[in-house]
Symmetry: C2
Subunit: 300 residues, 2 copies
């Protein structure tokens, strides 16, 4: 399973980065191969200063070795071996009317002393962070998520949509990071649902990513915008930074276990503003977005 899934994310990285370069028409992904001293490594691909994408990364990694101490206590296990691989992407477009998007699909194994798998699971999801609300875009994104889910289980969309709203939440602000999508974790084999079935589900979601996002980019990338629109985007990106550095388990885990910093923090936006006590004008488009972030909606 680990070889099959790693091969899948390698191919998916190629598919996604070549499509994004085609859309951008200017910038190319810069590739960095890196090794993890304790075992494994990754292939980081970053795009900067494009026509469409201000900054973004589409990274894969496969790491293994002794489970780091902090994860041993997190999973409540002793000193065991592990393997983890995944694809992580974040795209920050230039145009404030094009939403930021994040996605991640990952697979994890733990082994006993004899090398036998004692636990394994999939996790991941994809979610959208707009700066201006186009209901049509949000509905499209969720519709694609739901279609991918429905092929595998009629309850998945509702369950993982809610998990996404709950997870990507800036509790200190009382608002969601964005308009959600899917989030799932610890997807393990049961009597009713095998690892192969989880693999089919997770790759279905991975394959749906470009369909979910690309048409939104195409629709919004050429809308004219003002400095005020750009300022609002940069202020909202401050909230994105707050979530990733204060609440996101993946980021904090990476920072505290000697991960490759530049690959972990490629998720941070290129330009960010913090303005003291900023509030959008009553009745403005900016306020309309905030309302939805404070009260997550059902989009379907």
């Amino acid at each position: 399973m680990k070889d099959k899934f790693y091969k899948y994310i390698q191919q998916l990285q190629d598919t996604i980065t070549s499509k994004l370069e085609e859309i951008d028409c200017k910038a190319k992904f810069q590739e960095d191969l890196w090794q993890r001293p304790e075992g494994g490594g990754g292939r980081t691909r970053v795009i900067q200063n494009g026509n469409v994408f201000e900054k973004g990364g589409v990274n894969i990694s496969a790491v293994h070795g002794i489970l780091p101490k902090s994860m041993q206590s997190y999973f409540n296990v002793g000193e065991v071996d592990f393997f983890a691989c995944g694809l992580s992407l974040v795209l920050h477009p230039i145009n404030p009317f094009v939403p930021t998007v994040h996605a991640n699909w990952r697979y994890f194994e733990m082994y006993d002393k004899k090398g036998k798998i004692i636990d394994s699971w999939f996790g991941g999801g994809q979610d959208l962070t707009p700066y201006y609300l186009f209901e049509e875009d949000v509905k499209h994104f969720h519709q694609v998520c739901k279609m991918a889910c429905d092929k595998h289980n009629p309850n998945f969309y509702e369950e993982y949509k809610k998990k996404c709203d709950d997870y990507f939440y800036n509790s200190h602000r009382g608002e969601a990071r964005g308009v959600g999508g899917l989030f799932f974790d610890y997807c393990k084999a049961t009597e009713d649902f095998s690892m192969q079935q989880w693999y089919d589900f997770v790759t279905e979601v991975g394959n749906s990513f470009l369909e979910a996002y690309v048409s939104i980019v195409e629709r919004r990338k050429s809308i004219e915008y003002s400095q005020e629109n750009k300022d609002w985007q940069e202020i909202r990106r401050g909230r994105y930074v707050e979530f990733n550095l204060v609440h996101d388990k993946g980021t904090l885990f990476g920072l505290k276990t000697n991960g490759r910093i530049e690959s972990i923090l490629m998720s941070l936006p290129p330009h960010v503003q913090w303005v003291y006590d900023h509030h959008p004008e009553k009745g403005s488009e900016e306020e309309k977005l905030l309302e939805v972030l404070k009260n997550p909606e059902d989009w379907i």
Copy 2:
């Protein structure tokens, strides 16, 4: 003691904000009074878009009530009453040759059910975060810190300088946030050193702040700078954000215990950049700063 110290920080806030307005010659501090639902409140003063200061805050607060749950476990005590007051300031100047500065002086009391003080201590410090290294400035800042310390105990400067280097450290980057200064905490009465003596020491440091910082501002605020200098300042401010949101106990404590978000996060810089895998040129002024941040020096 609590009334005496709170009166002191009220006056110190006035002294500092009026001096800073005089230096800025343009922007005035905006004052916000706020109440904490569980008891107490504060007086936040923020300056933005000045001639000299791009963004800064000089805040005081005095809060009381039942010790929040997360602090009960942090201090390993049961449900006790507490009082805490302090002054916190962060100044982000426009000119990249003027360093950012941070300072904080605080006092804490805990009570038993009868209202008797069961524990009390002072804490605080002041530290400098330059974007370009002027040894003269760093030496001056540390010299003023040392003079304030030496009047009270010959070991304080060395001890609290080291604590500052250890605390304001971005462990995930392997570099200090800035060039340090003083950091002290849990300063409690002993046989040799009474609370009154701690009060005298902490207020001595508080009184030294303007002397430590203002002459640096005056010397550097009018140096001409390029867009490259400004970009470097904004990239380094990204590291400032990383420290405050990932490592700073005070910020995280505030965010997780329903503090006033805008007062806590006034410390975040106005404009910030994250550039993937940025490295300054060999032999540049930018690299010179990094060397010092990776290997904290003795400045005196």
